[in-house]
Symmetry: C2
Subunit: 422 residues, 2 copies
């Protein structure tokens, strides 16, 4: 798909560097960015052009962690901490997805919401149910977003109505992979052991076998909450740590196993080193970590130590499916971290938060999250005229206001891999 | 204005008690609530009825602390702490309001935004400029909201371009009061010494004289930020505390001087006792306290000690002019307070946050913030159908979702003192 988008263009070049071109031209060639220019270069003058006038054009946002079945209760049931919250609200809700008619309706609403927002890429958790998970994958594929979607695995410490037998879990997962891998244009399976407490060692070993066979990436949860971490220590006293449990099964990054770990609120020491050495992506989910009173993840420290970090909405631990909101939540949480915990860890800036929600998380999906030449062409066009002001604003100012104040209604168009979402 | 609104009605009866009536009737008699009923009582059957179907009807929201001139840079310039933020962003912006043409445009945008939102009552800061402040008062009055609006006083530690001579400040304030008090239907003047660092003792004494003469309430700032508090201690080493400085001038509550103090992030000990004993209203501004990295106010402790608390958006320390957002910010901040600072102070609940934003702050304005009989009739009608879900939701669930997820576009109608805002 060759085309040109004209408007005020803004994107990250690195964690601290924002590039912007006023009334510039963003070139899409064969589904990739050919760069951003003040004038259209000679060789692209034949491409069709869409002029977005004074709108802002930014890369699509990347949500590294979102639970599709939990979308139905976003904004509800946030009076408990993680483990009680799972038992009381999450597990009963997820159990409903054994019913395909329920999944059809609930996932329809979810896919529609993601389509309307600024997210173009996502790492998505479904439930343990393979058929409902396939249905979700089809809906997300039809929505045009690029997603990894996981059928969950849970064979212990789960309620009877939401627990698999170990062998059956591995078998069903293998069959689900065989049915879905490479079958959809934009949607791929990802291994998703829910978290260590609900996955036996035998199950983890089975998943590693599937991982080796199919070359799949992995997503899970890590060091979110004090009680959860203590529980993992009880379950695996020999492990040396929570991250180390995943690592002992070969499900914690490394070159052949791209991995996202959500939260990492309390990761430190050897776990932090392992995150870095294995190139694991931390999905920082500030709103969820606040809503479930988990704490604040040390993102500044992660960045300084060279750990890969992106943002996650973690619906429904987080209420908002917007990565713009995750950006402002991340800045705000980092300010309280600095004020209340460690004054060495300076607050995140607007360009840094924008980086996390675009290029930072985008790297999990390949060359994604920027308009540098060669990056896949994901773009969001935003009309912020309803954010009235008497000021004359720079592009960077407008970006900051969108990060803090945007609503989905301001999104005028969205492109994924060069295709306009209809 | 006699009338009946039909819909799903929800309001606070106390800090912990939420009342709700499904498909009920809210009666307005002579601008006051005559109560909420499942069936229309005989004596009101002749009143005209507006049927809002499945919409939610709640009391109008009360914003105890908002800076009108700062609305133009909401979402911008939040990389500094309070004192530097004032110098760098706030003072230069406020200086522009010497120009009435600027004020006309900027306050037009502000009044329009407040009109469109769910706020029906507000304590508003203008600037030191009397004429621009009058213009703001006229615009807010025309918008139909009930507001107290303050011309600020600043005679020291302020830039030359935004500093008054002491006598002139008192004189101009007295004249402004004479011109505006009792002149507008919904808008009244309120004494607004900016904060202790910018107000000399002579100025404070002059303001107290005006207070006694005119019986005006007071609004100011208290114990927001460490450097600010240390500065007040330097300026008034004899005072025994920040709140005590205001109190020594008779500008800190008490029966004849209703007072709002914004922030109180670091209030404790004798200052806390003074807040309680003098019946001062704390305007809790959680988003601003996060954005400016000030900290988290101990709201649970304030409530337990019988201190009056309401919510403030504190635009532009806060970016959002929505008290719904202040409610969810208050809950989220209280969770981090509990997790990171003091596990004795349990997080705020949804009903408690709703109370703070309605009845808690409403008490400053009289019998305001509830639908109990005799309360002034401020009501907001909300259509939340675009928050799609497959769940069947109770009224309380719907209220929680609105608090976390609402946007102004969901507000269908708004009534203030019985009058529908057009």
């Amino acid at each position: 798909m060759n085309q040109i988008l004209a408007g005020n263009i803004c994107y990250s070049k690195s964690v601290t560097t924002l590039a912007s071109v006023e009334r510039g031209y963003l070139i899409c060639k064969d589904g990739e960015s050919a760069g951003v220019f003040a004038e259209i270069p000679e060789q692209y003058r034949g491409f069709p052009l869409t002029d977005y006038g004074d709108c802002l054009i930014i890369p699509g946002l990347c949500d590294l962690h979102i639970h599709a079945p939990q979308y139905s209760y976003r904004g509800l049931g946030m009076d408990l901490e993680l483990l009680d919250w799972l038992k009381t609200y999450t597990f009963p809700e997820e159990a409903k997805f054994a019913d395909l008619a329920h999944a059809e309706r609930a996932y329809g609403i979810f896919a529609d919401a993601l389509k309307r927002g600024a997210t173009t890429r996502a790492g998505v958790f479904a439930t343990i149910h393979p058929q409902a998970t396939e249905l979700l994958m089809e809906k997300l594929d039809a929505a045009g977003l690029v997603t990894y979607v996981g059928k969950l695995n849970m064979d212990r410490n789960s309620p009877d109505y939401l627990r698999e037998e170990t062998e059956e879990s591995v078998k069903a997962t293998g069959e689900w992979i065989a049915r879905t891998k490479g079958k959809l244009k934009n949607t791929s399976p990802i291994l998703s052991p829910r978290f260590v407490p609900t996955c036996s060692s035998e199950l983890m070993r089975g998943l590693k076998e599937l991982q080796k066979e199919h070359g799949l990436p992995v997503q899970s949860h890590l060091s979110e909450n004090h009680s959860e971490i203590a529980w993992v220590r009880e379950l695996h006293p020999e492990s040396g740590g929570y991250g180390q449990v995943y690592n002992s099964f070969g499900l914690f990054g490394g070159e052949s196993t791209p991995t996202i770990m959500a939260h990492c609120v309390w990761s430190k020491g050897s776990e932090e080193a392992l995150l870095r050495d294995n190139g694991v992506f931390v999905a920082h989910c500030p709103q969820s970590n606040t809503n479930l009173a988990s704490g604040i993840a040390p993102v500044r420290r992660f960045l300084q130590r060279g750990i890969r970090v992106g943002l996650g909405t973690d619906v429904a631990g987080g209420c908002h499916a917007s990565i713009f909101r995750a950006m402002s939540d991340a800045i705000q949480a980092s300010k309280l971290y600095w004020r209340l915990i460690d004054q060495n860890d300076t607050p995140l800036t607007v360009p840094e938060a924008f980086y996390l929600g675009t290029l930072g998380g985008g790297a999990f999906f390949g060359k994604v999250g920027s308009f540098e030449p060669g990056y896949e062409f994901d773009a969001v066009v935003i009309d912020d005229t309803d954010l009235a002001t008497i000021r004359t604003l720079s592009i960077e100012d407008r970006l900051a206001r969108i990060i803090y104040l945007s609503e989905d209604s301001q999104i005028r168009d969205k492109y994924v891999r060069g295709y306009k979402i209809q």
